[in-house]
Symmetry: C2
Subunit: 658 residues, 2 copies
């Protein structure tokens, strides 16, 4: 189309780039450390750039912590290249989606839709037989599968996005030598020694987060210890391209054969066009409880012992064990180059009793996240997920504290209840995790349907199914606290009907389930979770009642009152979402309270046309309800429509007013 | 999980990167030009890196043309920063998806789901009123909306992906000065002069593609001319953030008001969190047919005339015209900085009679694609899409020719029927496009429901609806040719029932509609179009009949014969997809012909569980059918199940045998 006159504004340049998340407002002065004693100063230092450290740095950078304020170090020269975790749970995918980084996983990971159970056959000539196939993910979720893909790729995806927000990214080849609280500098009481390629230096920071894995130096330096026991099963794990006639090789399988147990994890397609498989294989006859801790705290004798046993586990041993367990089917590496990675490990479940260390005035200063605070077996596919979710829980709380958005954060000698909820919520979650893992690992390592085991196939499947709400990440429920307020949604006056929370019934402490809505402004079919972008904002979700179109209705007044309430908080920290049920008639913008178009034009939805949002959330369309959703997507409080006062009380606990 | 022994293979490094497409095999010798006369030599030179040039370079690089063999130049220093096209049609999105580059558009473009029609009201006090709202995309398609996003961003998305396959990418700041056929060098008969920042040089190439836009220098140099007429409507277009009480500002709208016509195109969200709007506004009283050609071929007097008229169109004029047409609603820029870009243009529909120029031996040497071969108005949102689809049609044919995959390509003085189909298919498509555009533009520029116009609102909506199959890109149908063979699927013996091709009934010359299938190997819910990745491969899709499970069935024999047939072609150029209808019983791999697992383990699907693929495609589950899908996703031939001979004939026309 030939054009004969044209003009363009400069700001167009930005239009060609992928979208950026808007940072949180900062009420505290910009970070400019003034002391000039040769010691670098930061607001947050993260030690370790595995899944948990990268997630934390990414979130803090997106929330607005500047290059000067935020440092993340890792002793390794690059992201992980091989092995380790490969399972991305549905809830983790939901979170990645709210960060705009889920696409590569959605497109290129292996999607596990099914879990097949194989047991010793009663017909000895068949040796093993398939007992059942169940869906991999049972609870309602935006993604109905578990994705499997190499952990290093997940790390690379996060790092790529990080580099859009932070020029430095991770400072690699840099190791934490020691860290301690040293209150000579009250503003920067965490003193750490780090070393980059042989050069040591001291740094100070307001907060330090140990994301440094199972052998965490941070944890050791601040005197915390993983507690719990180690079980005596030794396992081998191997990633390879297989050649097999086993019919379920592309399904997740638990195989209990006379020759031992194997777990099959189908994996992503690789560049050759072939597909990887991961096998977890029980290695017989090598038991040594509590022998799997290798690190500074471990006595020398144990070190030696581990070294001896290590030599006994070989690739050939693992493969032999696997092919025995697959009989009568054959299974072998497709070629000699088909083996990507292998390792041997021992199952142990441990958790640190504390995730936070305060300074002498009670300010939380040192945090641990991820494997640094909990370790467990890999077979439920939790480690990478739970580790990143620790960071997802901590990040917004830390950002609110540092940006001066939480009410008490600038007062001296006051408690810091918001930060404290990090330990509260994630420690309880870690406890649950290791309990589930202990149970799952034990039965998985044992024989089924035999006299000794005392565990039937049916019980094993039932354990998997009930655990699934938890392992998928979708059933996680945080306990009551300043940010999980159930007082308004329990008992007679509750606006909520039903208690099948896993299926979406609103429940403070659980994540808001995704529903499909039709947007009023443009008819777009949207997912409500797309309005819960991980930008650190609270959301007030008003599910109006069906009286919305009458001017003096409860719905109309509530919306006006909410808009007035939100005006008392710093601009841009709370967003409104408005959903309406089926209404008695068609309508236009001018039949609605003006505040809807003003504050929620592009977040105003029909909640009955595509999916029955009210039914899914347990809200009566004649009554409506109001919900505060936390920045991490968890429901904070559910109140009756009109009870804007309680919404205000809740928000004032979390956010300072203007 | 503490590990005590570990091993990793080197090739893991690749595992952290996004997937790469496997290049096509090359049967011709690797490209190593030997003449040493100071003239660079290439196999393909592309002039212009707008949407059509970038798409072509991206495809050729993915298909395997090396850095030495392929050059793309553009006179501009970077991708487009402002204005121009913004509509991405559903079919274009499908193609982007098969390239793995649709995500950013899916996530961040504006999705137009609805089209609202506003007309002069019969009640003069209301001035205008909404007549109807229809879905924006009517035909079945993988994406049920049209996406709008800045053209520069589409170009940047393609360029980002291109840089994964080509280090050089686009050679910018480099202008084509002249091009001619010069057969002194018979292997490289296209001689071009190009200039980079003042320095001129000569290059030679086997093929040159003019993707250099409406004023194409390539077109002029090879003596082709756009033919057609220009209409006299002058339009302004403006991209801005608006402040308005018009209720449909987030829908696509055609407004016919007493003060003139406006088209509203809602656009993407920008970094401020605001949303862009594009307005096309009819500027009254400035008509001059055929005056819109500005360029070397235009006589000086017309140049001057254009310059005079140009000065009359101003931003203020466009805005005034727009706000008059919106009355009684108000509409203004949200602030002075809210205007991104504006331009004025005149509608014209033109097309070049030839898209290919041969050398004296009949080998196609110069091609033109995109705006270089057709121009038209922007209001049907076609330009960028049709331009990229030209390249999508040409790229695989050119790659087959150069890689020696097409049968005749290495014989001298033979016709090149595969390359010729580029002109055949895309010229006919361009003709259809400009005819539709002429009609649509005329009625859009006129008044509706008035005596003079002779066009009612109902007729306008009908024109939009029938045109929609075409404008969405989903209804494009290529005519019969060596690669569109309808002889086996017309008449009595046709395996196909029905003729609603737009809804998916199989039809040679139309793209294969997406359907959802459940994969046998792992239960994964997949889209069949994900098996049509844009890697340049042909696919043989066998829709078996429900006799698949009996060993001597037609289905089983067909599958065996197809596997044997494909063995006669170069390895890795043809892929198999197998779909089965509902079968009489559950089954395992061992009830199937072994070739299914061997050749299609991960492309073997249940076609009845998620969607009724057989019903959608018009195939009787008792009969089955076989389909060849071309590398661009279009159906080439449909034959009865068992008629493997015809599949062989078809494929031998396109691909050489071993
Ligand atoms: C064989 C294996 C299989 C697994 N399978 C699964 C699975 O299927 N699913 C799943 O969810 N999880 C699995 N896991 C667990 C998973 O890998 C971990 O839970 C996850 O990596 C923990 O993340 P993190 O960030 O807390 O710690 P890590 O990933 O351990 O990262 C810690 C980082 O800190 C760095 N670091 C350590 N000390 C220092 C120091 N002093 N100074 C500077 N940097 C330091 C390290 O270099 C490392 O990059 C598996 C683990 C293993 C070993
Ligand atoms: C105002 C406007 C609105 C439009 N709206 C739409 C819309 O809504 N939807 C739609 O689909 N289309 C729209 N179009 C049309 C769309 O922009 C074009 O159809 C599309 O850009 C054509 O792509 P192309 O690659 O063929 O040509 P172009 O995009 O024009 O690219 C040609 C390239 O060649 C380069 N070039 C030119 N000459 C030379 C030379 N001698 N040497 C080297 N390089 C050279 C140029 O620098 C340019 O980069 C619009 C166009 C305009 C102007």
């Amino acid at each position: 189309m030939p054009v004969f006159t044209e003009f363009a504004s400069k700001s167009r340049d930005l239009r060609v780039l992928p979208s950026f998340a808007l940072p949180l407002p900062r009420l505290t002065p910009p970070f400019e450390p003034t002391v000039n004693d040769g010691v670098e100063r930061y607001e947050v230092v993260i030690v370790g750039a595995g899944p948990s450290g990268l997630m934390l740095e990414l979130l803090l950078a997106r929330y607005g912590l500047s290059e000067e304020s935020l440092l993340c170090i890792d002793s390794k020269p690059s992201t992980l290249k091989s092995g380790q975790a490969d399972g991305v749970q549905p809830r983790t995918l939901e979170v990645f989606k709210t960060l705009g980084i889920s696409d590569e996983i959605e497109n290129e990971a292996c999607q596990m839709w099914q879990f097949a159970f194989w047991n010793t056959s009663s017909d000895p000539s068949r040796i093993i037989e398939r007992k059942s196939v169940v869906p991999e993910v049972i609870p309602p979720a935006r993604f109905r599968y578990e994705a499997t893909i190499h952990q290093g790729r997940i790390e690379r995806i996060m790092e790529t996005d990080l580099l859009r927000y932070s020029k430095r990214g991770v400072q690699r080849d840099t190791k934490l030598i020691h860290v301690q609280l040293n209150e000579d500098d009250k503003e920067f009481p965490v003193l750490a020694e780090i070393e980059t390629r042989g050069v040591r230096r001291l740094i100070r920071t307001k907060h330090l987060v140990g994301a440094d894995g199972a052998h965490s130096m941070v944890r050791q330096c601040v005197g915390l210890k993983l507690e719990g026991q180690s079980l005596d099963h030794i396992w081998g794990v191997i990633d390879l391209v297989v050649d097999t006639d086993f019919p379920d090789i592309r399904r997740r399988c638990a195989i209990h054969s006379p020759a031992g147990s194997v777990m099959v994890i189908p994996r992503e397609r690789i560049v050759t066009g072939e597909y990887l498989t991961r096998l977890y294989v029980q290695v017989p006859g090598m038991a040594n409880p509590d022998g799997d801790i290798v690190g500074a705290a471990t006595p020398v004798s144990e070190h030696d012992d581990a070294r001896v046993r290590r030599q006994k586990v070989t690739k050939e041993g693992i493969l032999k064990q696997a092919s025995d367990a697959f009989k009568p089917y054959y299974l072998r590496p497709k070629s000699e180059e088909s083996i990507d990675w292998w390792a041997a490990y021992q199952i142990g479940q441990r958790v640190s009793p504390e995730f936070i260390v305060n300074d002498s005035t009670g300010v939380p200063r040192v945090f641990i996240v991820g494997d640094a605070c909990h370790t467990h077996s890999p077979k439920a596919g939790q480690g990478m997920n739970v580790s990143m979710m620790d960071s997802y829980n901590l990040a917004w709380k830390l950002a609110y504290h540092i940006h001066g958005l939480s009410p008490s954060s600038t007062e001296p000698d006051q408690p810091h209840p918001l930060l404290d909820t990090y330990h509260l919520e994630r420690h309880a979650n870690a406890q649950q995790l290791i309990e589930f893992d202990r149970k799952f690992s034990t039965i998985f390592s044992g024989q089924l349907d035999t006299e000794e085991s005392g565990m039937s196939h049916a019980e094993f499947v039932a354990t998997f199914n009930t655990g699934n709400g938890f392992t998928s990440g979708c059933g996680v429920e945080y306990g009551e606290s300043m940010i999980v307020d159930r007082t308004a949604s329990e008992g007679q006056d509750s606006p909520i009907r039903g208690d099948d929370y896993l299926s979406g019934i609103l429940r403070p402490g659980r994540r808001l389930l995704n529903v499909k809505l039709r947007r009023h402004a443009d008819g777009w079919h949207r997912d409500i979770q797309d309005d819960l972008a991980s930008t650190g904002r609270f959301r007030v979700l008003t599910l109006t009642s069906n009286d919305l179109l009458s001017a003096q209705s409860v719905s109309a007044r509530s919306l006006q009152n909410v808009s007035a309430l939100l005006g008392t908080f710093p601009a841009g920290v709370i967003e409104q979402i408005v959903v309406h049920p089926q209404l008695p008639r068609e309508f236009e913008w001018d039949s609605l309270p003006g505040c809807v178009k003003e504050h929620a034009e592009m977040r105003f939805y029909n909640g009955s046309e595509l999916e029955d949002a009210y039914g899914i959330y347990g809200v009566d369309p004649h009554q409506g309800a109001m919900v505060v959703v936390r920045p991490d997507g968890y429901v904070g409080i559910v109140v009756a429509l009109g009870d804007v006062d309680r919404v205000g009380e809740y928000l004032r606990r979390c956010i300072r007013t203007r």
